[in-house]
Symmetry: C2
Subunit: 365 residues, 2 copies
Amino acid sequence: MKIIVEGLDIKDAIATVGRIATTRNVNPILEGIKLTAKDGVLTLSATDLEIYVQKKIRADVKQEGEIIVPGRLFSDYLRKLDASQVSIASDGESVVITHGDNVCKFQCLPVEEFPDIIQLDAKPHFSIKSEDFRDLIAKTTICASTDDSRPVLRGVLCEIAKDTLTAVALDGFRLARIEKTISSHLGETKVIIPARSLDEVKKLCGEENGEVNIIIQNKFFQVNVAGTTFASRLIEGEFINYRQIIPSSFVSDVVVERSAFENAVERAGLLVRSDKVNLVTLKIADKFVTVTSNNEIGKINERVPSNLSGKDLSISFNAKYLFDALRNIQAGFIKLSLTGDHSPAIITSAKDGDFLFLILPVRMS
Amino acid sequence: MKIIVEGLDIKDAIATVGRIATTRNVNPILEGIKLTAKDGVLTLSATDLEIYVQKKIRADVKQEGEIIVPGRLFSDYLRKLDASQVSIASDGESVVITHGDNVCKFQCLPVEEFPDIIQLDAKPHFSIKSEDFRDLIAKTTICASTDDSRPVLRGVLCEIAKDTLTAVALDGFRLARIEKTISSHLGETKVIIPARSLDEVKKLCGEENGEVNIIIQNKFFQVNVAGTTFASRLIEGEFINYRQIIPSSFVSDVVVERSAFENAVERAGLLVRSDKVNLVTLKIADKFVTVTSNNEIGKINERVPSNLSGKDLSISFNAKYLFDALRNIQAGFIKLSLTGDHSPAIITSAKDGDFLFLILPVRMS
C-alpha cells in the first residue's frame, strides 16, 4: 500500500474512527484501525464488535492495499502533525508515515485477524431530523441502565408506528419517553439500540442540521453521517412493557419554573450526596414546592413558587434522578404530575411537549 | 454570630479559601472554614498546617462571633446560590444560611480545635512584579520533586542578593533556574518555599498586574494579594549546592525553533510513553537536530532545522523532561548547550533570557 492524503482529512477521520479503536480491549486486534486504499479512496475502519465505524477520505493511491495499524499510536501521532500532506506506505509488516523530512514507522497488526466490518446496504427504514434525533438521544440515554444484569435495559427501545418514533429507556428507578415525527418509513417495527451506540451517534452528528437516514437490517442499525458509516448491533430480547408503568390519572398537578426547581434540587442534594440514598423530599402545597434534605450534618430547605391543582402531598426522590430529568428539559416551566405519596411521579413540559420523565419515589421507612 | 453579606463577595471568598479547606485531610477540623465576624468585616480562614489563607469581605455584622463551618459543604452550597444577599447566623452549635425564602442549616465544627491562623505583620522583605512572580513560579515548580524522601527538593530555593531574586528547583534529573529583578529588599537571604504553596500563590495572583509584596519571618513567607493573606511554612534544611551542577563551558551550542522542536519531541515521545524510560535521542549535526525514538513497536524520526556551533554529537533524554522545559519557554528560538554525550545539557533562550533549564541525559546501556 502507498498513498498520499491531506493532513486535515486524515486528522478528521481519526477523530471519528479512533474513538472506537482506542477503547481498551481484551482483544488487541480491536485496538487497531484498518486502512484500505483503493480507487482514489482511503477507508478507515474500527470496531469493538458492538459498534462498527468506517470513514472514507480522498487519497492519491499509488499502490492499493489494506493494513491494520495500532489505533492509539496512529491516532495520537497524526493528531500532533501540522503537515499538509502525509504519505503512508506499507509492505504489510510495518507502516511508514512520512511528512516533510520526518519519518515514523511502526509494526502493523495481522490483517487476517481483524473482524469484518458490518456495512448494511438496505434502504433506510426511516428518516428523522438531525436535531430531533440528538434531542431524543440526550433525553433517553441518561435513563438507560449501566448494569449488565438485564441487557435490554442498557438499550433504548425505538418503536415506529404511523409517522412517529417513540423512544423509551428505563433502569428500574426512572423512565424517559420521547416522541418524534419521522418523515418516511418502511413499516412498523421495534428495535432496542444500545444507549452507548446512540451516544456515539450523537457525537458524530455534531451540530449538523438536515436529516439522518436510519437503516435497520439483520440485528443491526446503521446511520450514514458526514461521510461516516456507523453501524451498531441491536440488543436482542423483549423490552419491558413500559405502557403499563406510566400512570394516566393523577391526584395533583403542580407547575414550577424549571431552572429555579433544578437549582433548589441541586442545592438540597449537596447535603445528602455522600449518603447511601441521595434523598430529597418535596412538600407540595398551594403556593410553594418546598425541597428539603436532612441528615446528621444538617438540613436544607428550599422554596420554589408553584401553582397546584389537586391535593397537597409530600413525596421523596433520589435527588440525582430528579436533577438529571430537570437539567435535560429545555422548557421554561415544567409540570409535575403525582399519583400519591408513594407512587410514580411524571415530569413533562408545562406546555405541550414531546417527552415525559417518570421517577419512582423513595419509600421512607 | 449574625451577618449579612453580598452573594458575589462570599462566592469570591470561598473560591480562594475553600480550595485549602476542602483538601481531604486526616484531621477533620482542617476541612473546616473559620468565619470571624467583627467590625463590619467577615474573615474567612482555612489551613492545612502548611498553607494558611485568610480573606476579608465587607459584612453587615448584626452580632459578632466566630464559628467553624464544614468547608466543602459550605463552599459548594454557596457556589450554587444566585441570591444577591445571604444571611449567616449561628449559635455556635449550628449555622443557618438564609437567602430569600430558603434556609440551610448545618452543624458547626468545634471552634477550639481549629488551629491558629498564621499571619505575619512584618514589613515586606521584597517586592516583585506580579507577572514576573507568576513566570518564576511556572518555570520552577515543574522541576521540583514530588517525592517526600528529600523534603528540600519539594521546594523552590529563593535567593535574594543585590536587586535579584534567583529561584531554583531540581529533582535529581533536571533543574530550573530563573532570575528576576526585585524592586526593594531588606537584605540578602535564602529560603525554600514549598512548590505547592507557590502554585497556589500563582492561582491567587490570577492575571493581575502590579507588585507582589513578600514577607519572610519566623519560618514562614506571606503574600497579600487582592484582599487575601496567604502564608506558607518554609521548608527547613540545606538546599543542594546547585551552582556546582551547572556547567559553564560547552562543546556544542545548537539553536532551534522552539515550537518545531517541542512538537518533534512530543511526537517522538508518543511511541515510548508507556516504556519504563521515555527515551528520545537527539542527533545533533550541522543543519538538523534529529529527534528519534524506537522500541519493539516502531521507530520515529523527526528532523528540525538547526544552527550548530561546535562538534556533532548524540545524546538521549527522558522525553517528558525535555518537553516540560520546552513548553514552559516563551522564546521563539532556544539554545541547547551541550557538554558531551553523557553529561548535562542546558536549555536557554537563543536571545538573552532570565532562565535556564538543565537536564541530565539518560545513559544508554
